[in-house]
Structure formats: structure tokens, C-alpha cells
């Protein structure tokens, strides 16, 4: 009997290891590749033992790559900068637009209220190309094509529903009694909102902001269609690498590592809120 139980336990432990291996090995392997020279990468059989080199990263940061056929410009740092600008500005705008609206939906029953809330939610599920294809023409018309502002506006499609529905849930969880008491004391509505409601919902707002940053960072299709090389974030920029001649595999790996590190770190930092964010507030972690 005892050996039977431990047999099951061994099996389960083995299953856990296999699961971890499956999910973590690709990250581990690409991380290793980013510290290898082309010769080391092309070795057969592949090996995890090698003398690490930083040349891939220095090539990315210096923006120049010396090859046999001459030197090559790499604009990856520009892509990284674009990702930072696009994601953080999008989240900031979405917070400014979304938090008051979330408060309105949580505290007031008003005509159109639920309609707006659900229309915003449905954007999360509509095919993005459906909006993007006509938007190309409109942006050319109003001069927003290939601008940060235009892109940030479109990024609201990802950030706004997320912020709205998560923060709304947090506001709904807070009893309105505290706000009422503060109002009865003679404070204005605005003061109540900024001094009472927002501080109480701060963890939810922070979680929603972190998550929408991750989703904005990971977006690919918006910038693929609306941005030229000058405004492209890492997701599009890294893909352009693969097709450009003369780029070494180690540099691609290093670019991937630099591109995914920010979101992985943020996810680890915000792990408590991930479940709630991923389910748009329907499941609590």
C-alpha cells in the first residue's frame, strides 16, 4: 500500500517536472542563445556549455554590426524606445479616460451606462483588422498615420476595456457608505472622488495599469499595419530582423530576450492580480 501511494506521488512529481520543462525550456534556450556566437549556435550537437559572449547585446545597443560584407545598422533600440513610449502613454491615457468612467458605471445607474460598458467590452473581442483596415484611410485623411498619437489612440482598444472592467469591479467592492459620510461632511463630489474613492481602489487601479501595459507591449497587429519602421515597437521590429539579410541568430535571440524581459518582470511583480486581470475581473486569484 505504502509503495503504491509513493508510486503515484513519483508520477505526479514527474508530471510537474515535465510541465515546467515544457513551459520554461524555450525561454531558457533562447536566453542561452543570446549569449552565443554564430559558430556556437551552429554547432552540432547543440550544447549548453559554452563561453558566453556579450557581442550580440553590444551590437544591439551600439546599433552597428560589423560583418564580413561591411557594417549594418540595427534600429532595435529605437524599437525598444517606441515600445516604452507607446505602452506607457497608452496606459496613462486609458487611466485618465477609464477610471472616471469605471467609477460612473460602478456608482450610478444611468441610461446608456451599461450600453457603453458592454460596447467597450465587445471591442476586446472584435477582429482588430476590421477596424484597422478602414482606419488606415481615415488616419491618412486626418494626418494621424504613422504618428504616436494615432497609435496610442488605437491602443485604447486594448487598454480601455481592461482598465474599465477591472477598476469597475474594485469600485463595486468598496462600500459607498464611506463616500456618503464624507459628502455629508460637506465635501464636494470631486474631492470625495480623489480623496476617498481613488485611494481605496488603488490596488485595483495599479493592477489594471500593469496588465494593460503588458498587453499593450505585446500587441503586434496595430503597429504592423499603422506604423512605419520609425514608430514600430519591438514585436514588429524583431520580426523584421528575421527577414533582413546578414543578421546573426544570436542577435535575434538577444533582441527577443530584451523584448520579453520587461513583461516577464512586470508579470512576476503583479502575479497576485494576474488571474483577475486575465479574466477581466470575473475570477479572483
Amino acid at each position: 500500500m505504502a509503495s503504491k501511494i509513493s508510486g503515484g506521488a513519483v508520477l505526479r512529481a514527474a508530471a510537474r517536472i515535465i510541465v515546467l520543462l515544457f513551459f520554461l525550456f524555450p525561454i531558457f534556450w533562447v536566453f542561452l542563445m543570446s549569449f552565443q556566437t554564430n559558430q556556437q549556435i551552429l554547432r552540432i550537437p547543440p550544447s549548453i556549455f559554452f563561453t558566453p559572449t556579450l557581442e550580440n547585446y553590444t551590437a544591439l545597443f551600439s546599433g552597428r554590426l560589423q560583418t564580413a560584407s561591411g557594417s549594418l545598422d540595427i534600429a532595435f533600440i529605437k524599437n525598444l524606445l517606441n515600445s516604452i513610449i507607446l505602452s506607457s502613454c497608452s496606459v496613462l491615457i486609458a487611466l485618465i479616460l477609464g477610471v472616471p468612467a469605471a467609477y460612473a458605471f460602478a456608482r450610478f445607474k444611468f441610461r446608456l451606462g451599461e450600453n457603453i460598458a458592454f460596447t467597450l467590452l465587445s471591442f476586446r473581442f472584435a477582429p482588430p483588422l476590421l477596424v484597422l483596415v478602414p482606419l488606415v484611410a481615415y488616419f491618412q485623411m486626418i494626418g494621424l498615420s504613422d504618428t504616436y498619437i494615432g497609435l496610442i489612440w488605437v491602443y485604447q482598444l486594448i487598454c480601455l476595456p481592461l482598465i474599465l472592467w477591472i477598476v469597475r469591479g474594485y469600485f463595486e467592492d468598496i462600500s459607498p457608505d464611506i463616500e456618503h459620510a464624507y459628502r455629508v461632511d460637506g465635501h464636494s463630489w470631486a474631492k470625495t472622488f480623489f480623496k476617498i474613492a481613488i485611494p481605496l481602489a488603488r490596488p485595483g487601479i495599479a493592477a489594471a495599469a500593469l496588465l494593460s501595459f503588458i498587453f499593450a507591449w505585446n500587441n503586434f497587429v496595430f503597429a504592423l499595419i499603422l506604423a512605419s519602421a520609425d514608430k514600430q515597437p519591438v514585436t514588429v521590429g524583431a520580426l523584421a530582423f528575421v527577414t533582413s539579410a546578414g543578421i546573426q541568430y544570436g542577435i535575434i535571440a538577444a533582441a527577443i530576450v530584451l523584448s520579453v524581459t520587461p513583461t516577464l518582470l512586470l508579470a512576476l511583480y503583479a502575479q497576485r492580480y494576474l488571474v483577475e486581470g486575465l479574466s477581466l475581473g470575473a475570477v479572483k486569484g
Binding site: R16, V19, L20, F23, P26, I27, W29, V30, L42, R43, I44, P46, I96, L97, P100, A101, Y103, A104, F110, G113, I116, T119, A126, P127, P128, L129, L130, V131, L132, V133, P134, A137, Y138, W153, L157, L160, G169, N218, F220, V221, L224, V234, T235, V236, A238, L239, Y249, I252, I256, L264, L266, A267, L268, Q271, L274, V275, L278, S279, V283, G285
Partner: protein
């Protein structure tokens, strides 16, 4: 603006009026964004009813259902439907089974299990386009570690995404790698939120584990499973990033899912009308799915709010 007109009125009527307008003012920006998006949506509907090729603008003309009618006999359209549906069914099916199995495996709250759940979540936090790039490096025929490993077990001619017979398998594998954690983490949260009593009673009565799973765990977990699966169905039917980054719909038309097909129609063949018609068909599917989803999601959300 609206509040300004109220100035000068007696304070008694002013307060309730302001109060009624307040929610509108607060949600006005969100409303404007809605309108800003609904305009291009209406334009897309109009495009789909036109013969409109942007390289031949003078031939632009309303043909109403013309684009949709040609779909009926168009093998490219039916190929897209077939590829999209098989991609969706394979990915979501495998992800549900795997996600449920892993959630059950990590169900007990121990330090190792919690750390493992977070570790498994990492692929989900990587941009799908970059995840595809990672797998591209690993399946490269010259130096890819996976190509080497399958070579060791005798499959030396396994060509992953570049062969028509294994391309679907490869992108499904990448999708499973990226999105299984999504289902896993929702079901894990659901499992851990289930009430204890039925399980304790079953244990006291000595009910077999399979009975507990199929008659207690699974039914109680169903709202979570439904929400997670519908969420994934909605995303999978709209797959773009992974397929585009891996093969741009190739080899041939083997991976032409809806959005990749529509993208190529628009930006390669400049056929705006046909591209919009493809997207409208996809939109109709997602519209039906999202209505189903929102119903389940609201139920689950109310439960989460009620449990506080």
C-alpha cells in the same frame, strides 16, 4: 458645458440635476472612444458591399452582396473557414485538457505548486509574435534544438512550419505553449475557490476518485471552464500573430486563417472589398461567440463579487 447652463439656478434644483449629469460627464471620454471606433466599423461594413480594389479605384462600385456571393463557390474562402475552424478546435481542445490536468496537478496550495503555477504563466506574458519567433529559432533546420532532438529519434526530415503536412501541428504547438497557462490559471483559481464540504463528505463516504471528479469537481468547475474556453475560442478564431510571424499563412494556403487571409487580401492584393467581407464573416462568428461569452462571464463575475 452642461453644468454651466445650470449656474444661477436655486441650489435645491441644481444638485440633483448635476447629479444626473455626472455619470454622463464621467463616461463621456469612454463614449467618445466608442464612437471613434464605431465609425471605422461602419466603413468596413460599407467596404464589404463594394467592389473596391485600391489599385483600380475607378472601378469602385456598390455590388451589395456580390463579395459574399462569390464566397459560396470560392475555394479560398472555404479553405479559410476550414483552416480557422481546425486551428481553433485543435488549440482550444488541447489547451483545455492540458490546462485542466495541470490545474489539478497544482491544486494543493503548497509553496512549490504556487511557484510552479507562476512559472508556467510566463509564456502567456510573452508577445505571441515573439513567442513564434522563439520557436522559429528552435525549429530552424540548421541549428534548431528541436530539429536536432527530433532528428535523434529518427525524424531527420521533420520540417516543422515549412512543410504543409506539419505546419498546422507546429503553430498549434506554439499556441498551446502560449495559451495553455491562460486556461490553467483560471481553472486553478476556480478549483481553489470551490467549497470544501462536498469533497469532505465524499471522502468520508469513500467515494472513488473518478466519481468525485466527474460528479463533483467537473460540474462545480463548469462556469470557470465555460468562461475560459469561450475566451480562448474568441481569441483563437481570430488568430493572427503566431501564424503571421511563422509562415504568413503558408506553406501555400495551409495556414490561411481569417485575419491572415484578410490581411493579405488588403495589403498584398489590395482588394479592400473582399478583405472587408472576410472580416465581416469573422465578425459574425465572434459576435455570436461573444454574446455567449458575456452571459457566462457576467454570471461568474457576479459570483466573484458576491463572494467578497
Amino acid at each position: 458645458m452642461a453644468t454651466a447652463t445650470l449656474k444661477g439656478r436655486p441650489t435645491l434644483t441644481r444638485r440633483p440635476a448635476r447629479h444626473r449629469l455626472l455619470p454622463y460627464l464621467l463616461s463621456l471620454p469612454a463614449l467618445l472612444v466608442c464612437i471613434g471606433i464605431l465609425v471605422p466599423f461602419a466603413t468596413a461594413v460599407a467596404y464589404s458591399l463594394q467592389r473596391y480594389n485600391s489599385s483600380l479605384p475607378y472601378l469602385r462600385k456598390w455590388i451589395w452582396w456580390g463579395n459574399y456571393q462569390t464566397f459560396l463557390t470560392d475555394s479560398a474562402f472555404w479553405n479559410t473557414v476550414y483552416v480557422s475552424l481546425s486551428y481553433t478546435i485543435w488549440t482550444v481542445g488541447i489547451e483545455l485538457l492540458l490546462g485542466l490536468a495541470i490545474a489539478l496537478l497544482l491544486q494543493r496550495t503548497t509553496r512549490f505548486n504556487n511557484a510552479a503555477a507562476i512559472a508556467c504563466l510566463l509564456p502567456l506574458m510573452i508577445a505571441p509574435a515573439l513567442a513564434a519567433l522563439m520557436w522559429k529559432l528552435m525549429t530552424n533546420p540548421d541549428f534548431g534544438i528541436l530539429s536536432y532532438l527530433v532528428g535523434l529519434i529518427g525524424l531527420s526530415d521533420f520540417r516543422w512550419a515549412s512543410s504543409p503536412s506539419t505546419a498546422m501541428f507546429t503553430v498549434v504547438l506554439i499556441d498551446v505553449w502560449v495559451y495553455t497557462p491562460f486556461i490553467m490559471i483560471l481553472l486553478l483559481a476556480g478549483l481553489r475557490a470551490l467549497p470544501r464540504q462536498p469533497f469532505e463528505a465524499a471522502e468520508l463516504d469513500g467515494v472513488p476518485a473518478s466519481f468525485v471528479f466527474f460528479r463533483i469537481t467537473l460540474p462545480m468547475l463548469m462556469p470557470y471552464i465555460l468562461t475560459a474556453v469561450l475566451f480562448r475560442l474568441l481569441d483563437a478564431i481570430q488568430q493572427f500573430d503566431i501564424v503571421y510571424a511563422m509562415t504568413q499563412g503558408g506553406p501555400g494556403d495551409r495556414l490561411m486563417v481569417f485575419q491572415v487571409q484578410a490581411y493579405l487580401e488588403r495589403f498584398q492584393y489590395l482588394n479592400v472589398g473582399r478583405s472587408a467581407a472576410f472580416l465581416m464573416v469573422l465578425w459574425l462568428i465572434t459576435f455570436i461567440l461573444s454574446n455567449l461569452f458575456i452571459k457566462n462571464w457576467l454570471r461568474l463575475r457576479e459570483r466573484a463579487r458576491g463572494a467578497v
